[in-house]
């Protein structure tokens, strides 16, 4: 099990918060004033191990020299500027592009570029390498940028309902054939991969598959009844997903940063295409169709993608894919600073 290992710099100095890509549960405290957030992302190649032990080659953004699938989460607040230094160790170019914005920085092979941008308005953003029709992104070059609204620790935008905890759920998928071709031919082979040949065999949430997702309280939501969770869904992978929530319908707060301040839909399936983001509120209410009613008992309900091919690992082993459970009626073992 991976433990929460976020890095947090002092609030008085130039402040940056980078959270390990495997961590979903985000800890955030509003700083008194905006500042410049400094982030170093190393574009690296490396191996990671899938749920069934299969080792795959990925290309990722990382805080160090080890691969990070997905890349670390950048946590900022409105008014901040982000200074990103991309150290590209690969023998092919990479791009740091921020979905839904015009922010895009090209970095040549084996070189380093620093760029600074003012953060966009509060919301959930996918940063990714947009080259080769998505091939680079799907191989692992993606991560999340979360912008908190000015003045709030417990809302995703001014006018949004409040939450007790917030989670980043970044969806990924892995094609072992593509991975092997990159291993054999090097990172520059990305331009030779045809996006229409993609055949994912592993399906991940924050880089993990079930049951590892569910063993990790940084990804598996926990809470007492009434402790709503904000879930920031992002799709960095290569398939169309249909996250289905058992136990509670979720309230749709934002679709690709279009915010709904009223008349919000309640859904048990949240369709999400590649590159998309969805912010949803999981209310953590007792399951409403239970009889006899649930009051305080602990309940465990799955969230899984209903495009059921994603419920496999290596062509089988249901349900070891994009699947996790919500743990209702109990707090997480590692409570972050809220």
């Amino acid at each position: 099990m991976k433990r929460r290992d976020f890095l947090k710099f002092g609030a008085t100095a130039t402040t940056a918060t980078l959270v390990s890509g495997s961590v979903g549960l985000l800890s955030f405290s509003q700083r008194a004033s905006a500042s410049t957030v400094s982030v170093v992302l190393n574009a690296v190649a490396g191996d990671i191990t899938m749920v069934d032990g299969t080792v795959v080659r990925v290309l990722t953004f990382s805080q160090n020299s080890a691969p990070s699938f997905p890349g670390p989460t950048i946590l900022a607040q409105e008014g901040d500027s982000v200074q990103v230094t991309v150290n590209n160790t690969l023998n092919t170019s990479v791009v740091f592009a921020l979905g839904g914005t015009g922010i895009r920085q090209y970095v040549s092979a084996n070189s380093s570029v620093t760029t600074t941008f003012a953060v966009p308005r509060a919301g959930t953003y996918l940063y990714h390498d947009d080259q080769n029709n998505g091939v680079n992104r799907v191989l692992g070059l993606h991560g999340a940028l979360v912008v908190m609204p000015a003045g709030y620790n417990n809302r995703s935008f001014a006018g949004a309902p409040t939450f007790t905890r917030q989670y980043k759920w970044l969806i990924g998928s892995v094609d072992t054939s593509w991975s092997n071709q990159i291993r054999a031919n090097g990172a520059s082979y990305v331009s030779s991969l045809n996006p229409n040949t993609y055949q994912p065999r592993y399906f991940t949430l924050n880089g993990q598959s079930y049951p590892h997702t569910n063993d990790d309280p940084n990804t598996a939501p926990h809470g007492l009844y009434g402790q709503a969770a904000l879930i920031r869904l992002l799709n960095g992978g290569g398939m169309v997903n249909a996250p289905h929530f058992h136990g509670n319908h979720v309230e749709i707060l934002s679709v690709n940063r279009q915010n709904y301040t009223s008349n919000r839909k309640k859904k048990d399936v949240v369709a999400i295409f590649p590159l998309d983001t969805r912010d949803v509120l999981l209310p953590f209410v007792p399951p409403p169709d239970a009889y006899p009613p649930i009051t305080s008992q602990v309940q465990e309900f799955p969230m899984h993608c209903h495009s059921e091919v994603s419920q496999t690992a290596g062509g089988g082993q249901y349900p070891n894919g994009l699947h996790v459970c919500m743990h209702m009626g109990m707090t997480p073992p590692n409570e972050p600073t809220l």
């Binding site: 249909a242 919000r264 399951p287 209903h306 496999t312 089988g316």
Partner: protein
């Protein structure tokens, strides 16, 4: 991964939580509605002229190894205490009432409750009218594809004839469970790849498409314009409630012919929208697996077999731009 082949005589149960006729407390003795569903695994369906092996549920206690595709609908009224009884004598199966949120032991998910061998009773009380579905949640990736699903309709307090908002009255109702089938999956074993190995269950390439079990050939051959019970037939000015269930694994793009008039979404996923969503004429809905839409049509233009064009999109979509992998047309005839 080690396999256990001797649990209750059933092989390949890795990762399952097989229980023989589990008993739990809290069941009422006088539910307002009771349904019995018996799995079968030797059925066949003719879709677009092609015979394909299907599995599903029969209504009632049954020794039959054949049955309907999709499985018979479950229909209840909001607020009723309901029992769904599964009788699974040969192989473990389960029933998940998709979109219904009961307590954990009645949720029908094997690994958070039971994969049932023998008898089990699911107790639930739907608090919101709308369109749901039920399906087997055991080795779901295979069992739902094989046809182990059916519609689940919760009527509002006023009963049938009224939409989920309990306010909108309809004249004609149809359930469209729109599915994709990869026939290469349909000879796999019950426990395919549960214990490891590669059954190709990540690789889905549908070659048959259907609306509530009927393919394009069956729909096109429908001389009565309302049979099979998929095609909509109504008079001008009547109100049609189309209960659209995305039963496919791949996403769909649904385009309504402009002659059908305004397309009004009244509810999604068993929840009435805070405001009816009028998508206008010629509307397009893009939807993903297992979403449901309660759609109101009030066509005012007479026409025979006015189409609703459904495109199935490949789930593999690296670029973000979907590719069409198949199509089917449903029909509305307005007199």
């Amino acid at each position: 991964m080690a396999c256990s082949h001797n649990i209750n005589g059933v092989g390949g149960t890795c990762g399952l939580h097989v229980q023989v006729s589990p008993t739990v407390g809290g069941l009422v003795s006088n539910p307002a509605a009771t349904f019995v569903r018996t799995p079968f695994m030797g059925g066949s369906a003719t879709i677009n002229g092609t015979s394909v092996k299907v599995w599903g549920f029969n209504d009632g206690y049954s020794g039959l190894q054949t049955g309907p595709f999709p499985s018979p609908a479950i229909r209840v009224r909001q607020g009723q205490i309901v029992h769904t009884k599964i009788y699974s004598p040969a192989m473990p199966h389960s029933i998940h009432h998709h979109g219904i949120e009961p307590q954990q032991i009645f949720d029908g998910v094997g690994h958070t409750s039971y994969d049932v061998l023998g008898f089990y009773t699911y107790q639930w009380r739907p608090h919101q009218a709308g369109t749901y579905m039920y399906h087997c949640h055991t080795n779901t990736v295979l069992h739902a594809e094989m046809g182990m699903y059916g519609a689940l309709i919760v009527d509002p307090p006023k009963g049938q004839g009224w939409a989920a908002d309990n306010t909108t009255q309809y004249n004609v109702e149809r359930i469209w469970a729109v599915d994709d089938i990869d026939t290469s999956w349909h000879c796999l074993d019950w426990d395919a790849a549960l214990c490891g190995g590669d059954a190709g269950l990540n690789n889905f390439n549908p070659d048959l498409f259907c609306i509530t079990g009927k393919g394009q050939k069956e729909l096109d051959a429908d001389a009565a314009l309302s049979s099979p019970a998929v095609a909509v037939k109504c008079s001008r000015g009547q109100t049609v409630l189309l209960r659209y269930i995305v039963a496919s694994y791949v996403p769909q793009r649904i385009t309504f012919d402009s002659r059908l008039g305004d397309v009004i979404v009244l509810a999604e996923d068993g929840r009435v929208l805070p405001q009816q969503n009028n998508l206008g004429t010629g509307a397009v809905i893009v939807a993903a697996s297992a979403e449901r839409f309660d759609i109101i049509l009030r066509p005012n233009v007479a026409g025979t077999k006015i189409p609703v064009n459904i495109e199935f999109l490949d789930y593999r979509c690296v670029s973000g731009t979907p590719r069409v992998t198949g199509t089917i047309k449903g029909y509305v005839t307005v007199t």
